[in-house]
């Protein structure tokens, strides 16, 4: 019986230890029927990419409050690429404190959505589900 679960990695890159938002999102996605791998705080780009590889996730959600996103996110994309994971193979999104001016550059990098403070978890769930419903069939 084939059972195609949506697997999501929720990770906090960088040095800020405020993981309440990440945990709220992780729980909401779990309650929406997804399998959520939560890595905890203070993850390096390599740790995040390696966890994504080992867990073969469909979705990567990053939470960052420290302001280091323009520094860390490109390095995460790079770390994924070196592991043969192209940004368009997975759904990448981020949340936290990210200025408007940075949103377009992050989208150009491969992030499909940036969720700011006050985002409803229902919106994030819908966003992931809509993506999963229209994604091309994955290559084996």
């Amino acid at each position: 019986m084939a059972d195609d679960k949506i697997r999501v990695l929720v990770a906090k890159p960088g040095l800020d230890g405020h993981d309440r938002g990440a945990k709220v999102v992780a729980r909401a996605l779990r309650d929406a029927g997804m399998e959520v791998i939560y890595t905890g705080i203070r993850q390096t780009p390599d740790m995040i990419a390696e966890a994504a590889l080992q867990e073969d996730v469909d979705v990567i959600g990053l939470s960052i409050l420290s302001g280091a996103h323009m520094e860390l996110f490109p390095r995460i994309i790079e770390a994924l690429r070196t592991r043969e994971i192209a940004p368009d193979e997975v759904l990448l999104f981020a949340g936290g404190i990210i200025p408007d001016a940075d949103i377009q550059p992050l989208k150009d990098l491969g992030f499909q959505a940036i969720f700011g403070p006050g985002t409803s978890t229902q919106d994030i769930i819908k966003f992931v589900r809509d993506w999963a419903a229209t994604r091309p069939v994955r290559a084996t």
Binding site: A2, D3, D31, G33, E35, V36, I37, Y38, Q54, A139
Partner: protein, 313 residues
């Protein structure tokens, strides 16, 4: 688009991405996953498979992490399968075992995969044995399977692993608990974890007394009782020594062969049982007989045994 055959070939060449993709196909029990297993299975069987079980909060994840560090210190390559429960309500799961093993994430000789139980009882996920097979065939020296928090009766792991470690903690019940059948009996190695807790020594002595009195060596193996502290990384060297001794024991006494026959029997029967029941349900859902029989049993017109007879007939 790579085929399953490409992925299998890359797995044997040591490609971690291919391994990971195959694990997903196997976990989802897709036709591709079954095809892959068919090719992988003959090349598995060399790894030492170790099951780690115990109640929720016994410290299994922390102990797995500590064990993994010691195994790496001895230069063993390592696959870890960490299982957490699926919610019976949402069918979702939060898989948090990586948190306790963050430092191992960047070690290229370790591969950690989290799995959700997806409705399976018994402490494992439905496709755990397939996932273990793939990690084994990938060339890992040791494959460590950490079960979901198990109570007293989740003994499935013992049917799969070469060596089963049961993790207990001080204060988790008195010595009578240990005399009950079930999870305590499957231990090849018994671990009293959290040995840094104040009442740990008393608990350890109670367990030792029970084991000395009733568990005369089984198949020539006397289950050792070890004290560990996963958090403090204490007693871990002795635990790895015991794992090695158990493996040497089952190999020298040809028990490994007997055990593997039991493992194979268990797997074949479990899969056959699942397929028969799936087929039965599919057939009689289509023709309505299942609902009809269920309704008659619910109305007390027929007893459940007769209902099952009629469904199978």
């Amino acid at each position: 688009m790579p085929t399953v055959e490409d992925l299998v070939e890359r797995l044997f060449a040591g490609n971690r991405r291919a391994l990971s993709r195959l694990l997903t196909l196997i976990e989802n029990d897709t036709p591709e996953g079954r095809r892959a297993l068919k090719q992988i299975y003959p090349r598995s069987g060399a790894a030492h498979t170790v099951g780690l079980t115990g109640s929720a909060g016994a410290g299994k994840s922390t102990l797995s992490g500590a064990l993994a560090r010691e195994l790496r210190r001895r230069d063993r390559t390592l696959g870890i399968v960490a299982i957490d429960p699926t919610s019976p309500f949402s069918q979702g799961a939060l898989l948090g075992d990586r948190i306790r093993m963050q430092d191992l994430t960047s070690d290229p000789s370790v591969f950690l995969r989290s799995m959700a139980t997806r409705g399976n009882l018994g402490g494992l996920a439905p496709s755990t044995s397939g996932v273990v097979t793939a990690l084994d065939a990938f060339g890992m020296d040791v494959v460590l399977v950490e079960t979901v928090g198990a109570g007293q009766d989740e003994v499935e792991v013992a049917a799969m692993a070469d060596t089963t470690v049961v993790v207990l903690t001080p204060g988790a019940g008195d010595d009578v608990q240990a005399m009950k059948a079930g999870i305590m009996e499957i231990a090849d190695i018994l671990v009293v974890n959290k040995s840094d807790l104040p009442n740990a020594d008393l608990f350890y002595r109670q367990m030792s007394a029970i084991y000395e009195s009733y568990s005369a060596a089984r198949n020539g193996w006397q289950t050792p009782i070890l004290k560990t502290s996963g958090a403090e990384q204490e007693g871990i060297e002795a635990l790895v020594d015991a794992l090695d001794q158990h493996r040497a024991h089952i190999e020298s006494t040809q028990q490994r062969e007997a055990h593997r026959i039991e493992q194979a029997r268990h797997q074949v029967l479990a899969l056959a049982r699942q397929r028969l029941i799936d087929q039965l349900v599919a057939d009689h859902t289509t023709d309505g007989r299942l609902d009809e029989i269920v309704a008659r049993v619910a109305r007390r017109e027929m007893d459940p045994h007769s209902g099952a007879d009629e469904l199978i007939a």
